[in-house]
């Protein structure tokens, strides 16, 4: 892809028009600097919309509708070939934008894969099979005789999933090594026998998506190398500033560096926990005080949050030690737990500075036995959630509103409503990050203090 200066419009390139490109390699297209940025912004709107949809726990059918609408609203072009060009160009620009750190890559990978998934689902069977061939996924279809021998099981699988049509002999099934369809395995959405998964035609999306994801994941690493070695410096007056601005303007801060309120000391934690922690963190904090212990998931979720809030490493070590040593003794703490705290602060292991969990990450976690992490709005039983909200002093009416959001699986909206009820002021931006809840809360409390003091 070649980027040319403004005012010189590139002629439409002579490429085969595929409605769903696989983004195998950067296209031989020319693009104006203006379009470079505009296309990328339009695509970002789509990805951001997808991200919001996912964090609200939308069902696949709802996501399909959402993706189709987002695409129509942002990516449509009167000319079909132009639309494909815009699709490809914007994708490759965002690759540059999101290749630069592990977290950015992860976000981009996840959103692009979701986008691809739903666009693929919207295609007809013919196109889908053509795309499978493109990906080199040439699996043999299950023969009639074999189909009959496993039909009972295939019917059971279909019945175990709501809305999956019951299989008949005219349907095509593929026999695929289970390793290649991890998400179908994880959801028990396929019959597996002796290492092979029986994948229905309408499930091949999973195969294709796995392939798409792994290709893109590798490509992002390569793009990153290219960015640091041949683009960033030479383009520092032209592309680099655009690229760098593009990601911060839309993804928001990642709270890995506590900024706004500087440091926080151990003595202050107790007090700010009560006033400004979101429910998920308040719950972990109380459990920790109560049990002097948290399991791995809880330590990560609370530990990184506290880091984002501004707890320095030494204080963090002292804080966790004060609790854990009451249960396991200080020696065992030093031996088994201190490492992972230093790790969170990038002082051990790969030395990456870990970022606090976003709401999306907290919501999608899967707490198990003995675990206290996760999102209370999603993972608590109704009874426990009501009790927890009551303890926060949320009024009966507000609790009902929160529960209503929970029932519709709008967990972040439920959290925003709680924020409003607790602080008595509105929260228009919504809650996307536990650390954002904290900083918004601190802002409100400080302004209240200032006006009364």
């Amino acid at each position: 892809m070649e980027i040319i200066g403004p005012h010189r419009r590139a002629p439409a390139a002579d490429v085969v028009v595929l409605t769903l490109p696989l983004y195998r390699s950067a296209p031989p297209l020319e693009v104006t600097l203006e379009d470079f940025e505009l296309f990328a912004l339009d695509r970002l709107r789509v990805l951001k919309g997808i991200s919001d949809g996912l964090s609200r726990g939308k069902k696949p059918e709802e996501m399909e509708k959402l993706v189709s609408e987002l695409w129509k609203a942002n990516m449509r072009h009167p000319q079909a070939s132009e639309e494909v060009n815009k699709d490809i160009i914007s994708h490759f620009v965002l690759r540059l934008v999101y290749c630069r750190t592990e977290d950015l890559r992860k976000w981009f990978l996840s959103m692009e894969t979701t986008l691809f998934r739903y666009r693929f689902r919207l295609q007809g069977h013919e196109v889908q099979r053509a795309l499978m061939a493109e990906f080199d996924l040439s699996y043999k279809a299950v023969s009639n005789a074999e189909f009959e021998s496993v039909k009972d099981k295939l019917v059971q699988v279909a019945r175990s999933m709501n809305h999956q049509p019951l299989p008949s002999a005219s349907d095509t099934f593929f026999k695929v090594p289970f390793e290649e369809v991890p998400e179908l395995v994880a959801g028990r959405r396929v019959f597996i026998h002796k290492g092979h998964a029986y994948v229905a035609m309408n499930q091949v999306v999973s195969l294709v998506v796995t392939q798409f994801r792994s290709n893109l994941s590798k490509a992002l690493i390569l793009t990153n190398r290219k960015w640091t070695s041949t683009i960033r410096e030479p383009e520092k007056d032209r592309l680099t500033p655009i690229v760098e601005a593009l990601c911060t303007s839309y993804l928001g801060p990642d709270y890995s560096q506590p900024r706004e309120f500087g440091e926080i000391t151990i003595k202050e934690i107790d007090q700010v926990a009560k006033s400004s922690f979101p429910l998920c963190m308040q719950h972990l904090y109380e459990k920790l005080k109560e049990d002097h212990h948290l399991k791995h998931g809880g330590r990560m979720q609370l530990g990184l949050f506290l880091k984002g809030v501004g707890l320095k490493l030494d204080d963090a070590l002292a804080f966790w030690k004060a609790e854990f040593s009451q249960k396991v003794g200080s020696e065992r703490f030093d031996k088994e737990y201190a490492y992972s705290i230093r790790h969170n602060y990038g002082k051990e292991g790969k030395r990456t500075d870990y970022t606090p969990y976003s709401c999306q990450k907290v919501i999608s976690s899967t707490p198990g036995v003995g675990d206290n992490h996760g999102c209370p709005y999603r993972h608590f039983s109704e009874e426990n959630l009501r009790a927890a909200l009551g303890k926060l002093g949320v009024s009966y009416r507000a609790v009902e509103e929160v529960m209503d959001k929970v029932r519709n699986r709008h967990y972040q909206l439920a959290c925003s409503l709680t924020f409003e009820a607790v602080h008595g002021s509105s929260c228009d931006a919504g809650i996307n990050h536990p650390n954002q809840y904290f900083s918004d809360s601190q802002k409100i409390l400080q302004s209240k203090n200032n006006s009364t003091g």
Partner: protein, 453 residues
């Protein structure tokens, strides 16, 4: 004098052959200490078998052998004074054996095979030290069942609750073989409160973290966490074939024939209320409650009260099944809640998780982590697993012998070592060899082909 010193003192007296102690013959006092452990590692621990296993055939003469394989495996030792040595690695069986004998670890953990020797990892940049192979492992801990066992809690186990582990072995083992097509599976008693599982097939060792997580999720049913009472929720019109098989072949039998009475699941109000909570229909629960509260006053029936109440519950749900939507799977949900395996997901999902080596001795119980035969796991009795002191006693009984190689053969550890070899190690090494041959031959073929081009 500490307790340990007292025991050591007595131990010495035995060796002296003190007259007064003669009646006790070769008795060795219960317990666990460095001196016992030294004898154990010196005479009984099967160093060679562990080495053979962890080499996966790479210690042979075949040109396809990767001589660096064993040396890239991470071992970690927990020493007497709670010092924790990670990233130990060894280049031969004698290095492994000497290090174990010299350091006398209270616990030996086994980690992944890395890209480089773990002991020399500091000579490389962190991105060069990556786990490349790891058995697929499972860890099931009976403490995770505390809400459904009434005989013991915490680390205690007895023959009334151990069937929960038997169920777990049967369900997981069958699925690993029949569904996923694995063949080389080792089950091990964890020495105290649970079982470990090692899946050692080549394709299991090469699974990515994502694929491991998918398998773990395939097994995951238990959704309860500390803040949600609903432990299992079966949605849809039917169960996945894997769950159907688990239910009809294992769970239903163990629940009705063992756990129902041994755990006295319906015997008190508190206990049956927990079950009634799982039935989403007021009219049914209040009718059952009425019956059972009355029943308490006039218990004349000679049948076990748990059986009677379970039959009443089943009967009532059966007869009202058609009427209420949520009742379709209620009986199954109860059985699953009280018996389905609960895995520690984190252990299985990540390649670099450590797991205790078989044949270690648990410091708290003194019991050896012996293999369990999944084909007759219902006969396994954790309370009769050989203890360190018993083994030393058996050694004493035979007096000193010249052949130091097979000392375990005349102790009750012999059965376990023989089982490990014949049922696990030999078939494993046979297929490693075959795999090596065939991959070598196909490589030869390939290079021949490329030469003739």
């Amino acid at each position: 004098m500490t307790r340990e010193e007292v025991e050591n003192g007595r131990d010495d007296m035995l060796i002296d052959g003190c007259e007064a102690e003669q009646r006790l013959g070769n008795a060795v006092p219960d317990g666990f200490n460095v001196n016992y452990l030294k004898v154990y590692y010196g005479k009984l621990f099967p160093h060679g078998d562990i080495f053979k296993w962890m080499s996966y055939g790479n210690d042979g003469k075949h040109p396809a052998c990767d001589q660096s394989y064993f040396g890239r495996r991470e071992f970690s030792f927990t020493l007497d004074n709670d010092i924790y040595l990670r990233f130990q690695s060894f280049n031969s069986v004698s290095e492994l054996e000497n290090s174990i004998k010299e350091k006398c670890p209270f616990k030996i953990d086994i980690g992944p095979v890395y890209s480089v020797e773990p002991a020399k990892r500091n000579a490389y940049t962190p991105d060069k030290v990556i786990p490349v192979e790891r058995e697929l492992v499972f860890d099931i801990d009976i403490t995770d069942y505390d809400d459904v066992r009434y005989c013991c809690s915490g680390a205690d186990v007895c023959l009334d609750c151990w069937p929960l582990m038997t169920v777990a072995i049967k369900v997981i083992d069958t699925a690993l073989r029949d569904d996923f097509g694995f063949n080389h599976i080792l089950w091990v008693y964890s020495g105290r409160r649970g079982v470990h599982c090692w899946v050692c097939d080549g394709k299991a060792r090469r699974l990515t973290d994502e694929q491991r997580a998918a398998i773990a999720d395939y097994f995951r049913l238990y959704k309860g966490n500390e803040n949600n009472n609903k432990k299992v929720s079966l949605v849809g019109h039917a169960l996945h074939p894997f769950l159907i098989r688990s239910y009809t072949e294992v769970l239903r039998y163990f629940f009705e024939e063992k756990l129902l009475c041994s755990q006295k699941i319906f015997s008190t109000e508190e206990r049956f209320e927990k079950i009634l909570e799982m039935i989403p229909d007021e009219s049914i629960t209040s009718e059952l409650r009425g019956k059972w509260q009355e029943n308490r006053r006039s218990s004349i029936s000679k049948d076990d009260i748990n059986v009677v109440r379970w039959e009443q519950l089943k009967h009532m749900l059966q007869s009202k099944k058609q009427k209420a939507q949520g009742l379709r799977m209620c009986v199954e949900e109860i059985v699953f809640s009280y018996s389905y395996p609960r895995l520690d997901m984190e252990v299985s999902k990540r390649m670099n998780h450590l797991l205790k080596a078989p044949f270690c001795v648990h410091p708290k119980t003194g019991r050896v982590c012996v293999p369990i035969d999944p084909n007759c796991c219902e006969e396994f009795d954790p309370t009769t697993v050989p203890t360190l002191s018993k083994l030393l006693e058996e050694l004493n009984m035979g007096g000193l012998r010249a052949d130091v190689d097979n000392e375990w053969d005349r102790t009750s550890l012999g059965k376990s070592v023989r089982f490990f070899r014949s049922s696990f190690l030999q078939p494993l090494l046979k297929s490693c060899k075959e795999e090596m041959e065939s991959s070598y031959n196909s490589k030869l073929q390939q290079s021949k082909n490329s030469l003739s081009w």
